[in-house]
Amino acid sequence: MAVGSVRVDPAAPRPGLRLRELLDHERFLGPAFVTPALLLIVLLVAYPFVMAIYFAMSNAFIGRPSHFVGLRNFVALWESDSFRQTFQNAFVFTGAAVAVKLVLGITLALLLNQQLWFKRMIRGAVLLPWVIPTALSTLGWWWMFNSLYSVVNWTGLALGLMDPPGPNWLGQKYYAMTAVVAVNVWRGLPFFAICILAGLVSIPRELYEAAEADGAGPAARFWHITLPLLKPVLAIVILFSTIFTFSDFNIVYVLTNGGPINSTHLFATLTRQVGLESGQIGQGAAISLYLFPVLVFVVWAQLKFVRRQVY
């Protein structure tokens, strides 16, 4: 490094200074600084991941020695109704939740990007669902969907939107899926809105002024300026949200625990039920590994399209 050669302190090497000098070299300091993070990742992320693969190919059961069984767990999963149902649920849940969050997120961001009264308070309120512990706020939703005292149904009936007694939200298949999607949207909407808002703020005003001077209406400006320029932000937000929605655990576990009759189970909740509650670690690990292809896709898309400029 050029700077090293102009150092004002060419003191003769003393033994006590050796570590200090070593720390001045990038080739030594760099690896030294990343070692703690590297150790952590190798021991507690990479190693458990390899274990998950090993478990998935074994007949591991809590408190019993395990044997290699190849792909038998994966075959067995495809023969079980609960897994096939879960597989379908995961795609329905993720597709519906991400689509709704995207549409509502863009709408909310456009509204927040205007001149508003109480701007800070409004932003604070909008972001709140994202900050509060999900397991606890979902308890609140659980109570709101309670079969006897549901405030959702009370309001719906009072406004004349529902026929008495109103839907049994968590006890019927499609309503239960609607409920878990609704809570996921509630929890994830702030992330979409705030990120898209940051994207909106960075679009130069001159573009809109020029378009307006050329006679473009609000709809044309949205389709031809806002949306194309938001594309990179939207891509990142969708990719992030896909992996975190697909792997969701808290909402389903607290609200329905997968029921009624597996109709809201996701990979994470089924993994817990099979791998921990029934003790079939091998099958449980095989279920959790279904999250992996989605992870690979998201990482690949992010590295290839979105973060090209960084690496």
């Binding site: 700077v3 004002v8 001045d24 991941f49 274990m51 509502l104 609140g140 909407l189 307006e212 959790s288």
Partner: protein, 281 residues
């Protein structure tokens, strides 16, 4: 121009458009708080209006929660785990981020990519094998298992967030200090870190929030009443059998959210900037 013809009417319309979003966001908290303050008689009266308290507010549910359950122990566990995991993760994340953003050394690029990939790994992918690792470490059913495992998602997040902040500190400032005779470590401590303080505050806030809110590891690795954290205690110990004590349950949910709400009220702007930085930088 059409837009400027009636600015006040437009502005009012805009706020009306925001109203459903605000109600959607805030109503569950309003309803939780309300429920926690109602008497049982009103709570289970099917003819009462659920949106208001009409038969008098009560702190009964809070009293029962604090004196008749292990709630305070769970809060203490949450605080301990969160404080240690946050401190450790921010320190490890800071030095790793500095190295990745500033230094040239063998393996810097793959390691940067590795951090990013780890940042995307969901906790629900690894909790099953990690439970085994925790068992081997002799930490089964101990809150220390959480102290050890939370950094696995906090460190990648902090590193990723802080790399962005370190890149914004001009290289020249650091080089000037080193020309003046400072070592790299001195330049880091006295020049670079102070300039990255907003980023470090952000990392602390998010690490604190993520560990306070963590649920799946806490649920899997701990189960005894004296080891569990607040979220797990409320969702498992307060729910027993088929009879739910909704007032107490909601009181627990409200109280255990308060530490985060306090941080949130004071540092709202950091939350907003950190949320976008984590995803977009």
């Amino acid at each position: 121009m059409a837009v400027k013809r009636r600015p006040l009417a437009r502005k009012i319309l805009l706020h009306l458009g925001l109203l459903p979003f605000l109600l959607f966001a805030v109503f569950p908290f309003y309803h939780m708080t309300l429920t926690s303050l109602k008497t049982d008689r009103e709570l289970y009266d099917r003819h009462a209006v659920p949106l208001l308290i009409r038969q008098g507010a009560t702190l009964d549910h809070y009293q029962k929660l604090l004196w008749d359950t292990a709630f305070l122990t769970w809060i203490k566990n949450s605080l301990l785990v969160t404080a240690i995991a946050t401190t450790v993760s921010v320190v490890i994340g800071t030095i790793a981020a500095y190295a990745l953003a500033r230094l040239q050394f063998f393996g810097v690029d793959p390691f940067g990519t590795g951090i990013f990939v780890t940042y995307l790994v969901p906790t629900s992918l690894l909790f099953l094998p990690l439970a085994q690792v925790v068992h081997w470490l002799g930490l089964a059913d101990s809150k220390w298992a959480l102290v050890v495992t939370y950094p696995t998602f906090l460190v990648p997040f902090c590193t990723w967030l802080l790399m962005g902040y370190f890149r914004t500190v001009p290289k020249e400032v650091e080089e000037c200090a080193m020309v003046d005779g400072a070592t790299r470590i001195q330049a880091l401590i006295h020049i670079v870190l102070p300039m990255a303080i907003p980023g470090i505050v952000c990392a602390v806030l998010f690490a604190f929030t993520f560990s306070w809110n963590e649920f799946i590891y806490a649920l899997t690795f701990t189960s005894s009443s004296d080891q569990i954290t607040a979220s797990v205690g409320i969702t498992s110990e307060l729910i027993r059998g088929d009879i739910y004590f909704w007032g107490g349950l909601m009181a627990g949910a409200v109280l255990a959210s308060i530490p985060i709400v306090i941080l949130y009220v004071f540092f709202l702007d950091y939350y907003v900037s950190g949320l976008t930085a984590g995803a977009i930088k």
